[in-house]
Amino acid sequence: MALLEVQGLEAQYGWTKVLHGLAFTVEEGGITTILGANGAGKTTALRAVCGMVRTRGEVRFEGRSIAGRATEDLVRLGIAHVPEGRGTFVNLTVEENLRLGAYGRRGAGSGEDLGRVYQYFPVLAERRRQLAGALSGGEQQMLAVARGLMARPRLLLLDEPSLGLAPLVVREIFRIVRTINREQRVSVLLVEQNAAIALRLADHAYLMETGRMVMSGTAADLREHDTVRRVYLGY
């Protein structure tokens, strides 16, 4: 069953339409990626799913319509959004950032969740008392993913986690995302510009151009596709 189902999604900033009837699905348990160049509307697609921009169209999560729901409700439904640019609270400590990730499930003890994310990201455990702003870019991205995980989501939305990071760090983060996906049964929707690494991680992939999906298939299929190879993988 599709965990997330999007149909005819439109979004606009002011008078400028950015999404033109976008349609895609995220299968339960898998990793789906949306590829595309800068400005294709990938980030907007994620923001539209989370009600952060004015949108029209159908968004279903676990079969229920969530279009028009307030952003702050979605995390309670089980969607954790790790935004572009990480969105860490730079003046709060690492552990405070993580505790905020669990805010949506108040009453539930977050102690064991902290232990769980520290297992995946040992470097955060070492720096738990430091201000998030003092972390390196890679560590901040790890913190952002870890914060999303604190909500015990069913679906993790990752917006361009590789942005501005060294290749080695990106590989490390993607390895952890894969582990989390397998062990915690968290489905992942990954938006990426870096097609090579995204296609290595994902099961299913979409290619987006100027607000529309122009191609979809298994990650292996897209990797072999001529246009994708030439334009996005560069060989």
């Binding site: 702050e72 995390v75 969105g87 805010y103």
Partner: protein
Amino acid sequence: MDILLQQIVSGLATGGIYGSVALALVMIYQATDVVNYAQGEMAMFSTYLAWTLLNAGLPYWVAFGATLVISFVGGLLIERIVIRPVEGAPVLTIVIVCIGLLVILNSIAGWIYSYIQKPFPSPFPSRPIQIGNIYFGAHDLGALGVTLVVLAGLYVFFRFTTLGLAMRAAAQNPVSSRLCGIRVGWMLAIGWGLAALVGAVAGMMVAPVVFLDPNMMAGILIYAFASATLGGFTSPGGAVLGGLIVGVIENLAGTYVHFIGTELKLTVALALILVVLLVRPSGLFGRAAIHRV
């Protein structure tokens, strides 16, 4: 020497009040980027409420507690009803709304209670307290104590509770806060409620000294601005410390610099604002505002 110590303690007492109002200003400023010019009038109105409750025969501390609760709810409602509709508006619009609120609250207070000064009781004995060879005003010490207790309570709330953490997060990064499931609008409203509560404490502590009238907070608001400017508008702790420093400087200048006396005291605060803005605009503990362009 004795006079110096007395003046310092007395300065700390008024400084605590300036610091409280400054803290209320900073709390709202950090959450909404707006200076709440109506902060003083909100405190004045709270003090009139306390006066009404006391006149109805309630014991002092019961009236005190009830006033805090009413002020909190009042501040919350003001944010929801008056500020919310202009939330995304340009800063100037919100400033005008705050000034409007100032005028309205001032006029309503004058209309209900008249502009004639009223005495306001102090919960502390009128006999000075002797420590060693020095006599301290009991109200000075008491007011300082009450202020410090309230500030400590706020510190604990913001530092150690989940709600306090969520409020700090909402002030820093509203977008990420929403993604964490925090209802940012309510956090702002609670912030206004807390600011109103802190202001109410300041009003009730200063009213026995300056007497109760609709304009009683006007001067204090200027001292509070000086305090917040000195400590840094981005630093809650700095605002409180700034208040204490301003209170002491004001008192010492009034006592020891003869041409200042009581008449020119307010000028000290204004001069301080000017000097700080010229020399170190971000204040002692504030961070310089950095905007992406």
